[in-house]
């Protein structure tokens, strides 16, 4: 059943559930952050509207810097502004930031210990028709290896707004992973959000498997859990919105309770959220793990649904992985 403590959207399993792009939540969160804190500034590399930074830029033109198509400069200019006391948010497509400018993020932001917030939109293969060049499925791996970096991967637009607001005062670099496509809104304004805290969205009395999901695919995981319940298989579903620092305690608890873990993410299996979970469990409480993610491949054009299906990231694949792990 849905965890009542989290005050989730009661229409979560309805066909007509409200769908909003996760990036929209970033735009709204940044606008609110800008209203609340005068030190917040926005920098963008010619994708202001696409990343929804336009909401901030329109309201605060004097605190917005249009960098042009220059993502390396984007990261390092933000570092310089942070050194002068600003709290810079930079946005682009995840493929270009933190993709193209990874070394600048490492050296001028993390190594320099400057609290720049990096919003990477269009993460995952659900970007769709733009094709593989624009589908970032390596960004979790390259950000979570960076010392000092916090890595957030909100599941919907409401959580993205909260993640954006929570990142203002961390005093550290933060990466916020955003998706382009409309995503079911699973949480509500009342759902609690804390950086570093995992949440059980779907709980069972005697679960045989724990499904840990991040980003919009969480909805597919919830649909899978509900369907599995119909087949007499009890599962628990965790929303892992903070990939770093990892909520080790909650993950170990889930592993102890269920004995098996399936991880679900729109990312390469190598180095992603599942890898982080595996690192944690291998050290603390080893259990069998199945990984739902992209298998060492690039993306391609298609509709989001076609791509989710093709790369084995949908509800069917999650159910299959659960059935497989139960036999291990």
């Amino acid at each position: 059943m849905l965890n009542p403590d989290l005050k989730l959207n009661t229409k979560i399993f309805d066909k007509g559930i409200e769908q909003v792009p996760i990036r929209q939540g970033f735009g709204e969160g940044l606008l609110q952050a800008g209203e609340e804190n005068l030190q917040v500034v926005g920098l963008c590399a010619d994708l202001t509207e696409s990343t929804k930074m336009n909401l901030f830029a329109d309201k605060f033109p004097n605190r917005f810097v249009q960098i042009g198509v220059a993502e390396q400069n984007l990261a390092s200019v933000a570092s310089g502004m942070a050194a002068m006391g600003k709290i810079p948010f930079i946005s682009s497509y995840a493929m270009f930031s933190p993709g193209r400018n990874w070394e600048q993020i490492r050296t001028t932001i993390c190594y320099n210990n400057q609290p720049v917030k990096i919003a990477g939109s269009h993460a995952g293969i659900s970007v769709g028709p733009d094709g593989g060049t624009h589908q970032a499925i390596e960004d979790i791996a390259i950000t979570r290896v960076l010392p000092r970096m916090i890595v957030l991967s909100p599941c919907d637009s409401v959580e993205a707004r909260k993640a954006t607001l929570a990142s203002v005062d961390t005093g550290t670099p933060v990466y916020i992973r955003l998706a382009r496509e409309k995503t079911p809104v699973m949480t509500t304004d009342e759902t609690p959000f804390d950086i570093g805290k995992a949440q059980i969205f779907w709980s069972s009395t005697n679960p045989k498997v724990g499904i840990i999901a991040t980003g919009g695919l969480l909805h597919k995981a919830l649909l899978a859990a509900k369907e599995l319940e119909g087949k007499g298989i009890e599962a628990e579903v965790m929303n892992l919105a903070t990939i770093k620092p990892l909520d080790d305690k909650a993950i170990v608890e889930l592993a102890k309770k269920t004995g098996r873990i399936v991880t679900v993410e729109e990312h390469q299996i190598a180095g992603g959220m599942g890898s982080a979970v595996a690192e944690c469990l291998a050290q603390n409480f080893p259990v069998p793990i199945e990984f739902i993610g992209v298998h060492d491949q690039f993306g391609q054009s298609g509709t989001p649904d076609e791509l989710i299906e093709h790369y084995g990231l949908g509800t069917k694949s999650i159910i299959k992985a659960v059935e497989k792990i139960l036999k291990r």
Binding site: V41, N62, R63, V65, I67, G68, A70, Q72, N73, A75, S76, V77, A78, S79, G80, M81, A82, A83, M84, G85, K86, P88, E103, Q104, T107, T108, Y111, N112, N113
Partner: protein
């Protein structure tokens, strides 16, 4: 305009002492970069002992100017100048590149928080300086009295990011930003114009809306005057292209690109220091 002859003498002597320390610390370290630190000693001396608004006893003074060293590998000159300016004791220079030292092989603020930036990978420092100048302009507008100085190597202008930063600074009309290019014509593997020609350098900066000043990077008066001149420029960032002699001060090292990062051995050290001491004597007698 101009500085007094007495000031010139004081600066020249200081730069000479800094050069001796650079040779000394590099020989002790057994690795590091030689040519750049030596050829930038005069400019660092003018900045720290004449131009910069700073307080060595209060390095985090908010109103200070900012000095960003982009080509972090020439940090021996930064460390030595900071030590002589009173940021820390000169004897600490001996710890360069050693385990646990605040004086890391490339500057790192975690170890030495009084540094404005940690640096090493080339091509990023101008962007950081542009960010600082932008933030300063956001807060203080056109009346800002603060200067952001970005010290760059010539060869790092082979990197694209430098020009991304130059474009943005020109667009934003950052009059509070002064870049200094160490035009010593060398890099690790040879002479810049053989590795990757960067001329015509001044035209390139002008094309991005920068005010360009070219100077002899070893003439104290010219260096000091050029920094003074920048204050009169309105609505444009300023670049000072400083023509320098790689390895300046030690004839054995001068203009030889191999001294970009060659190890200084004991014999070379004593010959170099002897040269510099003689030069120091000349400075004193010339001005008497």
């Amino acid at each position: 305009m101009g500085i007094t002859e007495e000031k010139v003498k004081e600066l020249e002597e200081k730069a000479n002492a800094i050069r001796i320390s650079i040779i000394d610390m590099l020989e002790d370290a057994g690795s590091g970069h030689v040519a750049g630190p030596l050829d930038m000693a005069d400019i660092f001396t003018v900045l720290y002992f004449h131009t910069l608004k700073h307080n060595p006893k209060k390095p985090d003074w908010p109103e200070r100017d900012r000095l960003i060293l982009s080509n972090g590998h020439i940090c021996p000159v930064l460390y030595a100048t900071m030590a002589y300016a009173g940021y820390f004791e000169v004897k600490e220079l001996k710890t360069l590149r050693k385990f646990g030292s605040r004086l890391q092989g490339h500057p790192h603020r975690d170890f030495l928080p009084m540094l404005e930036t940690s640096s090493g990978p080339l091509g990023s420092g101008l962007s950081q300086a542009v960010g600082m100048a932008l933030a300063d302009k956001m807060d203080h507008g056109m009346t800002s009295q603060r200067r952001i100085y970005a010290l760059l190597s010539d060869a790092e202008l082979e990197s694209g990011q430098s020009w991304e930063a130059a474009m943005l600074a020109g667009k934003e009309e950052l009059h509070n930003l002064v870049a200094v290019v160490d035009r010593n014509n060398i890099q690790i593997e040879g002479y810049t114009e053989n590795i990757m020609p960067i001329e015509s350098l001044s035209d390139k900066w002008r094309a991005w809306n920068w005010h360009v000043i070219e100077i002899d990077g070893h003439n104290m008066e010219e260096i000091a005057d050029s920094f003074e001149t920048t204050k009169a420029v309105f609505g444009k960032p300023i670049v000072i292209i400083a023509h320098t002699i790689a390895g300046k001060g030690v004839p054995e090292f001068e203009r030889d690109y191999r001294w970009h990062s060659k190890v200084v051995n004991k014999e070379q050290e004593s010959r170099a220091i002897k040269e510099l001491r003689t030069l120091g004597g000349k400075i004193r007698s010339e001005h008497q």
